[in-house]
Amino acid sequence: MSIATGAIRGLQEVARDPGSWWRRSKGSVELWANLIVLGWALVFMLWRGGGFAITVGSVFAIWAVLAVSLNLVVGYTGLLSVGHIGFFGIGAYAMAVLTSSASYEQLRTEAIPTFGWPFFAALPISVVLAGLVALVVGVAFNRFRDDIYVLVSFGFAVIAFTTFLSWRNLTRGAFGIHQVARPAIGPLVFDGELEFLALLLVFLGLVVLISWLIVTSSFGRVLTAIREDEEAIEVFGYRTTHYKLAIWVISAMMAGLAGALLASWSTFIDPNSFVLLESVLLVSIVILGGLASIWGSLLGALAFVMLEEGMRFVPFLPSEFIGQIRQMILGILLVLLMLFRPQGLVGRFKL
């Protein structure tokens, strides 16, 4: 509400005195961060055309769901988890295993059971499964804090990845699972990229709405208080372990949703999408955008995806090095950010 009122007041002032815009914006890092990332994305999409825009939009929507959900845990509650990618993977594999219709007769050694469920039947299972695993993991993790939390969540990410790779009669290991179903509602099949993008944006909107409702509620206020001082909030009568567990499970379910969407969008998954590095990149996005800021996570995800996709078109870079250079640039960006703007592009809190 306050952002909207502020924006309206700002617009009124600019309407009265157009020169005031420049004076106001000169010192505002937040405004410039928004303008640069959004402008960059817009220019790039216009330049590369519709197909590129749709692909970037889809990848952005999936990463944005992940980043917003992780921000609930890392930014708002102050639990630095690097294991979020595990829940992303659980959602993706649940969707892939339940909906894949591929027949693997040629590769009998790597054959897995196929169920051929429709997308919308598998989706709730993917989400709930990620939530259930988070519940079990969360009960064990609840006693930890700070640096120990990073370590145990790291352990979870490693276990999850190893499971995806090694449980071959369910996941086909490194071969991956093909022909994951695309969503269909009656005769309407989301097999076109544009339709799928629309669906992704609907889910992203839903996740943003739920997250916004959480962080603006009294539940959300307790979460931020846990981040600031868990012991103090406990003596005021809050069972902090329950709050931490609740947000952990909610966040994992959102990550499971993102995973299910990824599996269906790309129609193929293998364990490479769920390596620890991806988890660290995800945490970087949340920090880059800004802790405890939903908009920050959206902006961080957009900046990351633009960096990832945008660098494909840098002419003098050999294509085989693009992946590594991209990660180096992200690393340099993070170091610079921590030095000069530790609260992220639009965030208010430091790690």
Binding site: R221, F236, G237
Partner: protein
């Protein structure tokens, strides 16, 4: 006694923080727990709140053993104001105060408590929409006291409320503690290193040294003996004298 520690022993690993400590506070009283650094003063309050590893002894609350876990103790009528103020700097003063009784579902009662606290602390009333991070140390301490009172406690536990405050503000804090006791009839147990100021407002005082109670009685009785001098000066080693210089 309303709140009483009976033979409490606390150990952090191999370190004994408290050894068979018995002390308490009666209804309507202000009791002080004093002693040099490392005497175990704060551990006394943490033991009541279930935040310290008690290996022996028990806490009596209204003559019955207090067994509630930390997060339920406030509902029993005991509020704890921790050391170092620990206000939520990202929240406004009013929101900070609301955190003190967010577990209450009765909106009218919440408002009544808020009014009482804001009346008691004019400085909070004046700045109630400001962020807590914009307040001075003394004002943050007032906020921490007010937040504790929002729980509507029968007993208020204060851990070093004057730590790091300027002498003039220290006086104000003690005056406010006395005022809370007088106007709201709240029983108070205060852990304090600032002997001079605290002895003026308390009914009963305990002196702790090396995790044991070495003296208890009225403030006058303590001033008559040389316990405080012995405890404080006896501990004065090279490190502390440098600090004085």
């Amino acid at each position: 006694m309303l709140l009483e520690l009976v033979d409490i022993s606390v150990r952090y690993g191999q370190v004994r923080a408290l050894t068979k400590v018995s002390l308490g506070v009666s209804k309507g009283e202000i009791a002080a727990v004093m002693g040099p650094n490392g005497a175990g003063k704060s551990t006394v309050l943490k033991a009541v709140m279930g935040l310290a590893p008690v290996v022996d002894g028990h806490v009596n609350w209204r003559q019955n053993p207090l067994t509630a876990p930390t997060h339920e103790i406030v509902r029993e009528g005991i509020a704890f104001v921790p050391q170092g103020r620990r206000v939520f700097t990202h929240l406004t003063i009013e929101e900070n105060l609301e955190m003190g009784c967010l577990y209450l579902n009765d909106a009218a009662e919440k408002q009544r408590r808020l009014d009482t606290v804001l009346e008691l602390f004019p400085v909070l009333h004046e700045k109630r929409r400001d962020l807590a991070s914009q307040m001075s140390g003394g004002q943050q301490q007032m906020l921490a006291l007010g937040r504790g009172l929002m729980a509507g406690p029968e007993v208020l536990l204060l851990d070093e409320p004057t730590l790091g405050l300027a002498p003039i503000v220290v006086k104000e804090v003690f005056q406010k503690v006395a005022e809370i006791s007088e106007k709201l009839n709240t029983t108070i147990m205060v852990v304090e290193h600032n002997i001079k100021g605290v002895l003026d407002i308390v009914d009963r005082a305990y002196v702790l040294d090396m995790g044991r109670v070495v003296h208890d009685g009225t403030p006058e009785s303590i001033q008559e003996t040389d316990t405080l001098t012995r405890v404080f000066l006896g501990k004065l080693d090279a490190g502390e004298s440098t600090e004085e210089a």
